[in-house]
């Protein structure tokens, strides 16, 4: 009876997978809607890039999978459906990828961000912090009140890093700049995002950065109110032509394709792959009209310094929100502190918990 059921299951799966038993199957899992014009869309674009680069590759994709034991179940089903590579594209999937990796040692798991690997689980990420720093410089050069804002979903390390980088960059242009943080409590909450934008602007903020699923609502609201906005994940300049200063956008495709090639060739070793502006995984968006030309020059010079390795964002001297020293002058931040960041730098206003 059981084998009959397995037969039917295989028939159904085979029917729908097109019957090519030798096609390589790669799975992609997204924490939000695929078509959110934001974070998840950026990963799905990566998937489409991979699908276009390799012949005979089939991709499976599942959206709206929460960062709970659910994802372990979904990954298991993907493996059972023939996936040999799985891209777990959200931060909270890591522990589950590692646990499942133990059960299926022949499957390669690639997880977005995080500091744990195993024999078949590696992480990949693009350091957007450098780009956020540069975007912060743009914000600092434009603000007249010296008060910046940041709207974000949850205080997880990736978000905290963005906020800190943004603030540090702004302070490079305006040492007195502060960043007020407002948490919306969800990745995709247009009503709260619009309201948070209005609240910040009413309280005197004139440049807003953000890290939510999609920057569209915040950009449009800022444009309407005559404030400025710094974007993330995707370039939304066309939604806010006057308000958009710049932003940090993703370009996952080439990095994903490189990893897939390594795995296919058998040369892949699980590690922490980190892309950045240099290899094009992160893109600093073109400047909007409000950024003064002199500032643009300064920012581009700083960008070159970062690319050349002459300037490091995450290095001392760094002071915490409470005024205590975090890093001595010249000392770089170690990866552990960076990837699990749970503090705000001086100048950030708001609760981290």
């Amino acid at each position: 009876m059981r084998s009959l059921r397995r037969l039917f299951a295989a028939m159904a799966a085979g029917l729908l997978l097109g019957g090519n038993a030798h096609a390589q199957t790669i799975g992609f899992i997204y924490v939000g809607p695929e078509k959110d014009y934001g974070y998840n869309t950026s990963h799905d674009l990566g998937r489409q890039f991979v699908a276009s680069q390799f012949k005979g590759v089939k991709t499976l994709h599942v959206e709206n999978v929460p960062e709970t034991a659910e994802v372990e179940r979904v990954m298991e089903r993907m493996v059972r459906s023939g996936a040999t590579i799985i891209f777990a594209t959200s931060y909270g999937y890591l522990d589950y990828a590692i646990a499942l990796g133990k059960k299926y040692p022949k499957v390669a798991f690639l997880h977005a961000g995080g500091l744990k690997t195993s024999s078949n689980v590696g992480t990949y990420w693009a350091n957007s912090d450098d780009a956020m720093y540069l975007a912060g410089m743009a914000a600092g050069s434009v603000t007249r009140s010296g008060r910046l804002g940041f709207i974000a979903a949850f205080p997880i390390p990736q978000v905290i890093r963005s906020i800190n980088a943004f603030t540090l960059g702004a302070q490079a242009m305006n040492p007195k700049a502060t960043t007020t943080v407002v948490w919306t409590g969800g990745w995709l909450q247009p009503a709260k995002e619009a309201e948070a934008t209005n609240s910040l602007i009413d309280s005197g903020v004139d440049v807003i950065g953000e890290q939510v699923d999609s920057p569209i609502t915040i950009a449009q609201t800022a444009e309407k109110r005559g404030a400025y906005v710094v974007g993330k994940d995707v370039n939304v300049a066309r939604f806010a032509p006057k308000a958009y200063l710049t932003g940090a956008s993703w370009n996952w495709g080439p990095m994903m394709a490189r990893l897939v090639t390594e795995i296919k060739n058998g040369t892949w070793k699980p590690s922490h792959v980190r892309g950045d502006m240099k290899d094009g995984s992160v893109v600093l968006d073109p400047f909007g009209p409000a950024v003064p030309k002199a500032a643009q020059q300064t920012i581009l010079e700083r960008k070159q310094a970062i690319l050349d390795g002459k300037f490091v964002v995450w290095a001392g001297p760094m002071t915490g929100q409470d005024g205590k020293a975090l890093l001595a002058a010249g000392k770089p931040m170690d990866m552990e502190m960076l990837e699990s960041m749970d503090f705000f730098v001086r100048g950030v206003v708001g609760s981290i918990k």
Binding site: P33, A191, L200
Partner: protein
């Protein structure tokens, strides 16, 4: 911003947060007055939002979008009407099915709409009030849908209590048997009430997407519809009281965001509980004053089954 101005800005943000809630509440208030409860308003909001957004994107006319949202919001609950009226289905189950149907269909059909840009409704500018404390920021933040929602409160209130049809609807909810013997058709009145509720919640959703955020995202109403159904009870089924009830909830929501923007370091998660706790507190107070006042009898029968 100084004191009065800040108060004005807060007032308008409370109003903005409250507007979608208010619209849904007005509709659900009428529906519940005839003795039907419709938990599906959340789905109707979403369908109204998606269709409204899509229609605005396609036609370039936001007013058309709002109207389309109303129509879509009206169409969906015909399922609820069919199930409850025709098939004598359990109202909670039916309402929840409508919710899921609305959520799923709007997400499915709306995915191609994400990332479009739509034209905005005309701005409301009264230059004379620009520098005036309190009124200046209040009026500056007004949008057409907020005004329409505010205007609808007295309209619905007057209609329910002062017109003949309003009386018929109330009778259907209070004494359905008497209404039937008087020649009314409770079934038809209830269906109409469901459809009107749908129209208003569709409008609420469309207002959210076309006016307030000018975005579409699946599930963007974030549970507001369901809360609105409950807040109708806080308003004691009185359309005049829907405004203060909606303002209470919307104001608490706006407050939790404003407190963060002002640098208050209480955990954001705890701040987000404010609207819910405030509503429960106010509700309890109204019950301390008068137990069980105002529940339409037919609705009670539904609730007590």
């Amino acid at each position: 911003m100084d004191g009065l101005d800040a108060l004005g800005a807060f007032a308008i943000s409370a109003l903005r947060s409250a507007t979608p809630l208010l619209l849904v509440m007005l509709g659900e208030c009428l529906t519940q007055r005839t003795g039907v409860i419709n938990l599906g308003v959340e789905g109707q909001m979403l369908v109204g939002a998606m269709v409204g957004y899509g229609a605005t994107a396609a036609s370039g006319n936001p007013w058309l979008g709002l109207a389309a949202g109303c129509a879509a919001g009206c169409a969906l609950p015909s399922v609820h009407g069919l199930l409850v009226g025709g098939a004598r289905a359990n109202q909670f189950g039916s309402g929840l099915s409508v919710w899921m149907l609305g959520f799923g269909l709007s997400a499915l059909l709306g995915s191609s709409l994400v990332g479009r840009q739509i034209a905005a409704l005309p701005e409301i500018r009264i230059e004379a009030l620009d520098g005036v404390p309190f009124l200046g920021p209040l009026v500056a933040g007004l949008t057409p849908t907020v005004l329409i929602a505010l205007a609808l409160v007295p309209v619905v209130g007057w209609w329910l209590y002062r017109t003949r049809t309003g009386l018929h609807w109330r009778a259907t909810g209070e004494v359905p048997e008497a209404a039937r013997s008087a020649g009314l058709s409770p079934a038809r009145i209830r269906l109409n009430a469901i459809l009107v509720g749908g129209l208003l919640s569709g409008f609420g959703g469309a207002a959210l997407a076309v006016d307030y955020t000018r975005t579409w995202a699946e599930g963007m109403s974030a549970g507001r519809g369901l809360v609105a159904v409950g807040l109708v009870i806080v308003a004691r089924w009185n359309p005049w009281l829907t405004l203060p009830a909606a303002l209470l909830f919307g104001g608490a929501e706006a407050l939790s965001l404003r407190l963060q923007a002002a640098g208050v370091t209480v955990s954001a998660h705890l701040l987000h509980t404010l609207p819910y706790l405030a509503s429960i507190a106010v509700l309890t107070l109204t019950y301390v004053r008068s137990r069980d006042a105002g529940t339409p009898a037919a609705l009670k029968a539904v609730m007590d089954r």
